[in-house]
Amino acid sequence: MESKYAVTFKDGIARVTLTGRLDTNNAPGLADELKKLVGQNPKHVVFFAQELVYISSAGLRVIVFAKQKIGIGTEVFLVGASQDVIDVVKMTGFDSFVAIQESYA
């Protein structure tokens, strides 16, 4: 499976679709994409992770960045993640500030 990501921003909602892996190779590129949202104050940043098979700390840092730096009061969601990915998120305690959900309306 090829690793890739896609970011859209509309009506205050940033949607990030993740495919394959989010790791040292591509996390910086995604971080650069998300930096473009700084100042635009998205209400939500939603990571769609149904096709995500692997995340390392580099990928987790992007999620932290989304929470800490993108906007004031921005809520971050991790949607449709596999149990393996959820386990890694929980190991670092990030589940306390990312909403882990099966779907997002």
Binding site: T24, V64, Q68
Partner: protein
Amino acid sequence: MPLKPMESARLSVPADETQVEQVLDFVEAFATQVGFDGKALGHIRLASEEAVVNVVHYAYTASRGASGDVGDLVVVLSPIAPDGNEPANASPVGMVIELSDTGVAFDPLSRPPPDISAPAMERPIGGLGVHLIRKLMDGLEYRREDNRNILTMTKRFSPHRL
């Protein structure tokens, strides 16, 4: 499925981002031979990525600035033989991953662990890699020897597997 006893394997690469994938594939192939699969195999690969990336990013920072050269990352993988009265050809019970570099002396285990209960806005971003390695692997040690940083990670099969 009994496995043959195994020998150690060694790989040396420049400590550069372009080499990370090769190192991880090397570790994963060895781990598969030892008998790891599924979740444990994923954990080994993730822990190895965290450790290797730390070396790539930090070990040769000083020299890289000056000449652009980086030193080597040496990876030695060894099976863990069973204890006690096992026959000589018994299968491994786990594996040891040793990463070493000749970069600046740096003990990644000496940093305080991240406060994972801190609220989002107070969470520093650093220290995550080592924290993950500790959770994913059974053993983690650092030593400095002969001008090398040596990080040793251990993973054993969980008891119910046998």
